[in-house]
Symmetry: C2
Subunit: 290 residues, 2 copies
Amino acid sequence: MTRYAAIEAGGTKFRVAVAEDREVVADTTIPTTTPDETLGATIDFIMANGPVAAAGIACFGPLDLAPSSPNYGAVTATPKPYWGEARVLDRIREALGVPTAIDVDVGGAALGEWTWGAARGLSSFIYLTIGTGIGGGVFIDGKVHHGMGHPEMGHITVERAPGDAFPGRCPFHGACLEGMASGPAIEDRWGLPGNELADRDEVWDLEATYLAQALRSYTYVVAPERIILGGGVLQRPGLLELVRQKLSEQLAGYATSSIRDGNLDAYVVGPRFGQDAGLVGAIALAMDAS
Amino acid sequence: MTRYAAIEAGGTKFRVAVAEDREVVADTTIPTTTPDETLGATIDFIMANGPVAAAGIACFGPLDLAPSSPNYGAVTATPKPYWGEARVLDRIREALGVPTAIDVDVGGAALGEWTWGAARGLSSFIYLTIGTGIGGGVFIDGKVHHGMGHPEMGHITVERAPGDAFPGRCPFHGACLEGMASGPAIEDRWGLPGNELADRDEVWDLEATYLAQALRSYTYVVAPERIILGGGVLQRPGLLELVRQKLSEQLAGYATSSIRDGNLDAYVVGPRFGQDAGLVGAIALAMDAS
């Protein structure tokens, strides 16, 4: 058995675990305060439960993931106090002295789903999470795709639905996908949080319309074998099925062979690892690093 | 010197060449009639100028490019008479008896630009052509990306510009990118072909708006190192620069590091091989196959 350190570095809390292979044997939760405090407590916990052979970090973004960058593995521009330029990868790796890999949270989640979950054996798929924000990972040929950085899949163009006057709440783009369809966008538009709107069909019809538009664009750009939809918003019963139905309508029969028959049950699916996606992904990152 | 056969299989004509390394030593043009006639004449020309070590085909789509498909390399559903199900790859390969590679025209063009043109040395880029239709190739880690087929990048979602009442002319999606911004869409919207609208600034302002929307989505999904814009519509002087400017506005500073400063001169560029992109790509495909 090999021990690995797994860190799900979130904006409000860090989940830190030590695993024997895939089995978590010790874990804790640390509030996200300053890099010194939070990374310090993270390192202390791991060392108290080590030694480990490698570490994996699934981290909130944006991160510098350009392979040639001197800041590889650091947080870049973020509105979060203290964390701009925080060198997350370097600090963990230097303190632990073991191979350490980092990816954005959705990249880690995608790797976890490919290694053990809803995307095993696929050569290309997309993992999308719809919650406080909308983010995604593109997985191609055995690894999470990074071009000159990591994708920001939530910020693509969508077409305003007829009758929807909500201006959108993305600070950069206003009415991009995230601006129109994230959890906070739902709450702003309808005046109630999503979990108090479960019975309002028009809420979810509109939500599915925007998500299906985005999935149509992803389908035509990447031609993935599968799209996994995770995140809190997808907890609403029936939403996944509604997205499938609207995507099928929007593709209008113009699609690559495996979905041309219009049955998207195997094409748009839920994740295997819901709330644990980040931590499982961090374990997979650690194994890849070792 | 090695001889290669290169076939640019277009919807109205085939351009067929025999090249010594990259140098075309014999070439001809054959009208696209029936598969028997056109592929027969293609094979005859190559055999009269051979022998060749390998052949490459940059073909109009849609093609079946699923590696495991029994119809790999065949045309799939097409409105073009006679060509539905035409086994282009098999017929060329069997007649010539040499290794033969096929890709969609934009995939071939992308490979050509990577091998000798505007994308040399890059690990990820997008090639987009805007003409009678809008199509694109995504190039990642040394090869043209195919997921469960080939991308259909022209069919992504765009947001209708204020005041634009044109319904869109895509037979599948109406107002998708291709439906709003292809050459025929320009002609339908304004009542004149693009080359007679060169002085109408509002035409190109609107065109650049839609293209920039699409490039924003591509940027956020793929995070490519570069986007090459080719095709007849881009012949209009100043359009490329206008697309850069509008893309910079639409990204609104939210982008990966290499374009965060807002200077997109090296990010959005023209192709090296304009009208010859398909044929050059077919030569590159042949070299890859041999």
